[in-house]
C-alpha cells in the first residue's frame, strides 16, 4: 500500500512498515509507503481489526514495528529511545480519541493544558501564540464554541459533544505539527458530527497542523485531502485523492 507524496514536503514518512502482535502469524499492518505533509489531511478507514489503533500507536511511538521506518519531522521513531519517542509525541502530536478523552477529575481548562505540563515546547508555543498557555486554552475553547463558564467545571460534568470539543482544544494547544483523531465523531449525532468536523478542520488548518483522521464511516472521507483504506489482515489499498 502506498500514499502519494505531497508538495509541501513530508512531515510524516512511513516506509516498508510491518507490524503484528504475534510475530509468528501474518503482520497486522504492512504499509509500503505513507507520507503526510504539513497542513495536509488524511482520512484512514477500515473495518474493525484492520490495525487502525495499532497504526496510531506506531505513529505515536508507543509501539515499534517489526520492520520498516516511521519518520516524524525527519526523526526515525524506530531508532529513538523510549524516552525520546515520548518526548517527540508530547512535543509534536495531538491526539483526540473516540471517548473517555478527558481526565474526569480535572477541570476543562486543566485538561486542555495537560500537554503544556508535559511538553515545554508546547507550553512555549502556546506562550508565543497567546502570551500564556492558560489564555491559549481559553482562546481554543472559545473558538471551538465552548461556553467560557464551563472552563472551571470538571470534565465529567460535560456532555459527550462538549467533551470532544475540549479534547480537540487539548490536542491543538501549543500547535502540534500532527493531529491524530481516532473516531472522534462516532459518539456524536449527525449534526454534532458535522459541526465538530468543521471546527476541527478549521482549527487544524489555522494551526497548519497535519490531520490524520481515523474512522470507519466512509461518508466522511470527502472532507479530507486524501484517503487511506486499511484492510485485514495486512492488505490496504493505495491512498487516493478524495
Amino acid at each position: 500500500m502506498s500514499s502519494s507524496a505531497t508538495p509541501q514536503g513530508p512531515l510524516l514518512q512511513v516506509a516498508s512498515l510491518r507490524f503484528g502482535w504475534d510475530s509468528r502469524s501474518a503482520p497486522l499492518l504492512d504499509i509500503a509507503a505513507l507520507s503526510l505533509a504539513a497542513g495536509e489531511s488524511l482520512f484512514v478507514c477500515g473495518p474493525s481489526g484492520c490495525g487502525k489503533s495499532s497504526l496510531l500507536g506506531l505513529l505515536g511511538g508507543v509501539h515499534l514495528p517489526q520492520q520498516g521506518s516511521i519518520r516524524l519531522l525527519g526523526r526515525d521513531l524506530v531508532s529513538l529511545g523510549r524516552q525520546q519517542r515520548d518526548r517527540l509525541r508530547g512535543d509534536h502530536i495531538g491526539f483526540i480519541f473516540q471517548q473517555f478523552n478527558l481526565i474526569p477529575y480535572l477541570s476543562v481548562e486543566d485538561n486542555v493544558l495537560l500537554p503544556c505540563r508535559f511538553s515545554a515546547r508546547r507550553a512555549e508555543r502556546a506562550r508565543q501564540l497567546d502570551a500564556d498557555p492558560r489564555r491559549s486554552a481559553q482562546r481554543l475553547l472559545d473558538r471551538l464554541g465552548l461556553d467560557p463558564a464551563l472552563a472551571r467545571r470538571q470534565a465529567m460534568e460535560l456532555s459527550v459533544g462538549q467533551q470532544q470539543r475540549v479534547a480537540a482544544a487539548r490536542a491543538l494547544i501549543g500547535g502540534p505539527e500532527l493531529l491524530i483523531a481516532d473516531e472522534p465523531t462516532s459518539a456524536l449525532d449527525g449534526d454534532s458530527q458535522h459541526a465538530f468536523l468543521e471546527l476541527l478542520s478549521e482549527e487544524s488548518r489555522r494551526a497548519r497542523s497535519a490531520l490524520l483522521f481515523v474512522s470507519h464511516d466512509r461518508s466522511l472521507a470527502s472532507r479530507f485531502d486524501r484517503r487511506l483504506e486499511l484492510q485485514p489482515p495486512v492488505r490496504s489499498t493505495p491512498g487516493s485523492r478524495s
Partner: protein
C-alpha cells in the same frame, strides 16, 4: 516533576474516599510507631531523671533491682529492712557526705508515703542535678505534718492546711487506716517528673508515732493513743527501708560498696543507681523491642493496604494513564505519578499520625502521668521521631514503586488505547 506533583494531588483528591481508608490505617500505624518511641523515651528519661547525685542505694540484701524499684520508684515492697544502727554507722562513715533514710510501707489513697528527714530535701536531686523545690508552704517540722508531691496535690486537690489520714500498707488494698492521727499538709513540692511527684513525705518519727500500739500490721484492740500523748513515747526509728548515700569523693564508691557487702552486723547490699537503672532498662528492653516490632508490623500492614488499594485501582485508571501517555507522559512520568501518590499518602499519614498522637497524648497526659508515671510529650519532634517519620516516607515511597511498576507495564501494553 512539578506537573506530576500537581497531577498526583489532583488524582489523590479525586479518590479521596478510597484513599481516606488507607490514610486512616497509615496514620494509626504511624501514631502507634511514634507512640511506642515516645513512651520509650519518656520511660528512659523518667528513669534517668528519677535520681541524680546519689552514689549508692543501700538496703537489706536481696535483689538489687527490687531495692531500686522500691527505694527510687516506690514500686513493690521491701522484704527486709535495715537497722537504724546500720543507718547511723553509715552516716558516721568519714567517706560519706550525706545519707537519706527512707521508710516505706504506708500509703494514702494509693499514693506511697515516705518517711524521711530533712536530708531528703537537702540532698535529693533529680534530672540534671536539680534539687527539690516547694511551690508553696515549707518542709515538715512537726510530727503530723506532710509535704506532698505535685501529682498528689493535683489529683487529690490538696492545698496547704488540708488534713489527711494515712493508710497502713500500700496500694488500693491498704485497709487499716491511721485516721485517728491525721496529718496537715504544710508543703507542696514543685513537679519533678519523677516518683517524688506521687509521694507524700512525712518524718520518720511521724511513722513511728502512727504505728504506736500496732502489731503485725494491725492496731491492738482497745489501745488508742491520742495525738497529744504520742510525743511522750520514744519515737526513735528502729529500722529504715533503705538509704540513699552521697560520698565525699565518688572515687571511693567501690570501696564503700565492698565494705557494705561485708558488713558484719547485718546482711546489706549497696547498689550503684546507674548500674541498677541500666539493668532495669535492659529488662524492659525486651518489652520495648516487642512493642516496636508490633508497631512496625502495623506500619507494614498500613503500607500493604495502601499498595493493595492503589494496585486494585489501577484497572480503573488504565484509560487515565493512556490519556496521559497520549499527551506526552512517558513511562517515567507514570512511575513518578504513582510513586508521588504513595509518597504524598505516606506524608499525609505521617502528619495525621503525628497529630493524632499529639492530641491523644495531650488528652491522656494526666492518666499516663498518674497510672504509668510517664510524662508523655504531646508535641515537639526529637531527632529519633524525625528519623522514624523519614523512614515511614521512604517505606511509603518504596512500597508505592510496586503499583508504579505495574502501571508502567500496563501503559506499555495498553499503548494509547487500553483494550478493556
Amino acid at each position: 516533576m512539578k506537573a506530576m506533583l500537581w497531577l498526583a494531588l489532583q488524582s489523590a483528591w479525586n479518590r479521596r474516599h478510597t484513599l481516606g481508608l488507607t490514610l486512616v490505617a497509615l496514620s494509626l500505624s504511624v501514631a502507634m510507631l511514634l507512640g511506642v518511641e515516645r513512651a520509650r523515651d519518656a520511660a528512659k528519661q523518667g528513669f534517668e531523671q528519677s535520681i541524680a547525685g546519689t552514689d549508692l542505694i543501700v538496703g537489706a540484701r536481696g535483689s538489687p533491682l527490687q531495692l531500686l524499684l522500691y527505694s527510687v520508684f516506690r514500686l513493690g515492697e521491701a522484704s527486709h529492712d535495715m537497722s537504724w544502727n546500720s543507718y547511723q554507722r553509715l552516716r558516721d562513715d568519714p567517706a560519706v557526705a550525706w545519707v537519706i533514710p527512707l521508710t516505706l510501707g504506708d500509703s494514702h489513697q494509693g499514693f506511697p508515703v515516705l518517711g524521711t528527714n530533712q536530708d531528703y530535701f537537702e540532698h535529693l536531686h533529680y534530672g540534671d542535678q536539680r534539687p527539690l523545690a516547694l511551690t508553696s508552704g515549707r518542709r515538715f517540722e512537726q510530727l503530723f505534718e506532710v509535704v506532698i508531691g505535685a501529682e498528689v496535690a493535683r489529683q487529690l486537690g490538696y492545698k496547704l492546711g488540708d488534713k489527711l489520714a494515712l493508710s497502713h500498707g500500700q496500694g488500693p488494698e491498704a485497709l487499716a487506716s491511721h485516721e485517728d492521727l491525721p496529718f496537715e499538709v504544710v508543703g507542696l513540692l514543685a513537679r519533678t517528673g519523677t516518683p517524688v511527684d506521687r509521694t507524700l513525705h512525712v518524718s520518720l518519727q511521724a511513722l513511728e508515732a502512727i504505728h504506736l500500739g500496732w502489731q503485725g500490721g494491725a492496731p491492738l484492740p482497745g489501745l488508742n493513743i491520742p495525738a497529744r500523748f504520742v510525743q511522750k513515747f520514744d519515737l526513735q526509728p528502729k529500722r529504715v527501708t533503705a538509704a540513699l548515700v552521697g560520698l565525699e569523693n565518688r572515687a571511693g564508691v567501690f570501696r564503700l560498696q565492698r565494705a557494705l557487702h561485708q558488713y558484719p552486723d547485718e546482711a546489706l547490699q549497696a547498689v550503684l543507681p546507674g548500674v541498677a537503672l541500666d539493668q532495669l532498662w535492659n529488662m524492659l528492653g525486651i518489652v520495648e523491642q516487642t512493642l516496636a516490632g508490633v508497631s512496625l508490623l502495623v506500619l507494614a500492614m498500613g503500607l500493604s493496604t495502601m499498595v493493595a488499594i492503589v494496585w486494585a485501582g489501577l484497572g480503573e485508571r488504565r484509560r487515565e494513564l493512556a490519556i496521559l501517555r497520549s499527551v506526552g507522559a512517558g513511562r517515567r512520568h507514570i512511575v513518578a505519578l504513582l510513586a508521588l501518590e504513595g509518597l504524598l499518602l505516606s506524608l499525609a499519614g505521617a502528619l495525621l499520625g503525628y497529630l493524632m498522637l499529639g492530641l491523644a497524648a495531650q488528652a491522656a497526659a494526666s492518666w499516663t502521668q498518674a497510672e504509668l508515671g510517664l510524662t508523655l510529650p504531646a508535641w515537639g519532634t526529637p531527632a529519633s521521631e524525625l528519623k522514624l517519620l523519614a523512614g515511614v516516607l521512604l517505606a511509603g515511597l518504596c512500597a508505592s514503586l510496586l503499583p508504579a511498576w505495574r502501571a508502567a507495564r500496563l501503559t506499555l501494553s495498553d499503548g494509547l488505547m487500553p483494550r478493556l
